[in-house]
């Protein structure tokens, strides 16, 4: 680290650590956490709603406040994921897989403690890394052109479809149905309608928030209406001891946290990838590397660590292309890009020369925001856990009302509400037949990114299919995709051979 960088960081700390800024960070984190915990209210929504309120503020305070809201909203999505099987934000979708089963076993407090610790630690470490690595990571992110983004999308979808669930083919079927659904709106280059069934709500894109809420929350209601409460353990306690047990568990898993944080940081640095990709990839990686992969999806705490640490790291990672390249790393950073421009900062390669102090203030604010998150989250979690013991016939109507208004909130459209309910039914049918929901969601989210990258690559290359094999990064990603498809059968064969040889030796 150069003396100049140290000097700028010291100055940035001086600008950041004023009573006013700290108050705004505390308010921002709390507001973000509460808003992010409402299913259907994404981090993007939350930051966008707060944007007009920051206009009278100075640029530093405005950006610090928005960053704090981003941090809070990112964690906030984990709260309903743990308690009611509903990701509050897209970044908490993989959290649901293990956190909710933990709640059902009466371990909601522990799950919340794990999610808090993983989020905070992942967010803190990634913010520190970004502080020093903003410029070099920006240069690497620049190497990812449309070709690499296309292959990365295919790899991400394949890896997750293979890792999640017990049946690879069913996972891939769900993933490719998701890609097909995402290709239903208008052609991205010609604007011609494809298959939208005459619904204007599908003209532009398939809104993935109603899809996610429908697949998880609404489908769960079909089961929950038949139960007495979310947790079958009526003696579930809500003590800080249980929450801190979860915190301690996450702290004793430094490798899992750092690995997940690293995945979140790298994927967050890819323009357009965002939290929804990072938490799935991280969860899949944690499952693959686990000694007990079959326990993932059944309430394995390491699954919660993987998802939450990665989606917190995406917060910092997504600021890299936003600040260094002027390309938003996620939907939320797209809104923050607007905020930067509104307050006179021009993101891009020149930012670190012209606005180095402001850029460092934003990154450092993530550090402070994560510390406040620890305090705020611990303060409210003990009381939120009570939700899992409330009667289901009170929870179900409440969730239905909240998800309906949440789905409506995105585009003020009843079409989105009906779409959410339709996907709720689809989710129920999928769950009854052992199809994992995640590949479907991932296909719908990644579909526009993959298709757009594909079309632009074909334009650039003059329709040459070999273009997709024309770079080292692309070839590496193709190899990883093939490995992901065949690693399980190959490892089964290898294990069988080793077992036979061991028997022979014995």
């Amino acid at each position: 680290m150069t003396p100049l960088q140290v000097d700028i960081i010291t100055q940035a700390l001086g600008v950041l650590l004023t009573p006013e800024n700290i108050a705004f960070i505390a308010v921002g984190v709390t507001f973000g956490m509460l808003a992010g915990s409402i299913p259907g209210f994404t981090g993007t929504n939350t930051v966008a709603i707060a944007l007009p309120f920051t206009l009278p503020m100075t640029p530093e305070i405005a950006l610090v406040t928005l960053s704090a809201i981003y941090v809070g909203a990112n964690y906030g999505g984990a709260i309903p994921a743990v308690l009611i099987n509903t990701p509050g934000t897209a970044g908490a979708t993989a959290t649901v897989l293990d956190a909710y089963p933990m709640s059902q076993k009466g371990q909601a407090s522990k799950a919340l403690g794990i999610s808090i610790a993983a989020s905070v630690i992942g967010g803190l470490i990634s913010a520190v890394i970004i502080l020093f690595m903003l410029q070099p990571i920006g240069e690497i992110a620049f190497l990812f052109t449309n070709r690499e983004i296309f292959v990365l999308g295919i790899f991400g979808l394949t890896a997750v479809a293979v890792a999640i669930g017990d049946n690879i083919r069913k996972g891939l079927v769900a993933g490719f149905i998701g890609l097909l659904i995402a290709a239903m709106p208008v052609d991205p280059t010609t604007g011609q309608r494809r298959l939208d069934f005459g619904f204007f709500g599908l003209y532009d894109s398939v809104p993935f928030v109603p899809v996610v809420v429908g697949l998880f929350a609404i489908s769960e209601l079909f089961y929950l209406i038949n139960k007495a409460a979310i947790s079958e353990d009526n003696s579930v306690t809500t003590t800080y001891r249980d929450i801190f047990e979860g915190v301690k568990y996450a702290i004793t898993r430094p490798i899992a946290v750092v690995r997940s944080m690293g995945i979140g940081l790298i994927i967050g640095s890819m323009p357009g990838a965002g939290t929804s990709v990072a938490n799935f990839v991280s969860w899949g990686a944690a499952k693959s590397m686990s000694e007990k992969p079959e326990t993932f999806g059944e309430g394995n705490p390491d699954g919660v660590i993987a998802s939450e640490a990665s989606n917190s790291a995406v917060t910092a990672g997504s600021l890299v292309p936003t600040l260094a390249l002027g390309i938003p790393g996620s939907g939320t950073t797209a809104v923050m890009l607007a905020a930067l421009l509104l307050h006179g900062l021009r993101p891009g390669p020149q930012l670190m020369q012209d606005f180095a102090l402001e850029a460092n203030v934003i990154i450092l604010s993530l550090l402070v925001a994560n510390i406040f998150l620890l305090v705020a989250a611990l303060a409210v979690s003990k009381y939120l856990v009570r939700v899992v013991t409330m009667p289901a016939n009170l929870i179900v109507p409440a969730i239905l009302a909240l998800t309906v208004i949440g789905a409506f909130a995105m585009r003020s459209s009843m079409f989105d509400v009906w779409l959410m309910f339709l996907f709720g039914i689809i989710g129920f049918v999928m769950r009854e037949n052992n199809y994992s929901l995640i590949p479907l969601i991932l296909g719908i989210i990644l579909g526009p990114i993959i298709e757009g990258s594909f079309l632009r690559s074909m334009l650039v290359s003059g329709n040459d299919p070999l273009y997709f094999f024309g770079s080292t990064i692309a070839i590496l990603l193709w190899v990883l995709t093939v490995l992901a498809l065949f690693i399980q059968p190959i490892s089964n064969v290898v294990r069988g051979v080793i077992a036979n040889r061991t028997d022979l030796l014995n």
Partner: protein, 172 residues
């Protein structure tokens, strides 16, 4: 009934009909195939081929994967021995999932009523309906819960977030 008796009852129950099981198991991949056929029918000849490479590649892969899933499921169904008739199986499933079916009916009615009645009146009716389906009968609990949720949604989404849900003929 003891848990052992309940388990014995479950294992002694006649197995649902093969056709009912097949219909349910193949519903999702079949829906994917139908979507693919509709997609091709809607786009072929209308959109230039260059722009169809990607979606048709997805359809091609989906077709192959679905065929393998179908093959596996049909092989399992060939070994399956259904004892009930199709109608009996559907009737039994409807009874087992009666609360979920009731919830679906109430939820659809709720969504349908939002535009004519307005979001808040429809939500109040919908919540009461779902609570009744879920087995809650205490009018005081129903009233208090409905009021709390409606007030929370109003404060959070209308007052703070500035959202404007549908108002309906009553203007609510």
């Amino acid at each position: 009934m003891t848990s052992t008796e309940a388990e014995e009852g479950a294992t002694n129950r006649p197995t649902p009909s093969t056709s009912a099981v097949a219909l349910f198991r193949l519903a999702f991949p079949l829906a994917g195939l139908v979507l693919a056929v509709l997609y091709v029918e809607s786009t072929y000849g209308r959109i230039r081929l260059n722009n169809l490479y990607y979606p048709y590649f997805v359809i091609g892969v989906l077709g192959v994967l679905t065929a393998t899933v179908f093959a596996t499921e049909l092989r399992q169904l060939l070994e399956y021995d259904g004892e009930q008739s199709f109608v009996e199986s559907v009737r039994e499933a409807a009874f087992e999932w009666r609360r979920s079916i009731g919830f679906t009916v109430v939820a659809v009615a709720y969504l349908w009523l939002i535009e004519p009645l307005g979001f808040f009146p429809a939500t109040a009716l919908g919540m009461i309906g779902v609570m009744l389906v879920g087995g809650r009968r205490d009018p005081l609990w129903i009233a208090i819960s409905t009021l709390l949720i409606v007030v929370f949604v109003y404060v959070m989404f209308v007052q703070i977030m500035g959202l404007r849900p549908p108002r309906g003929v009553l203007g609510l």
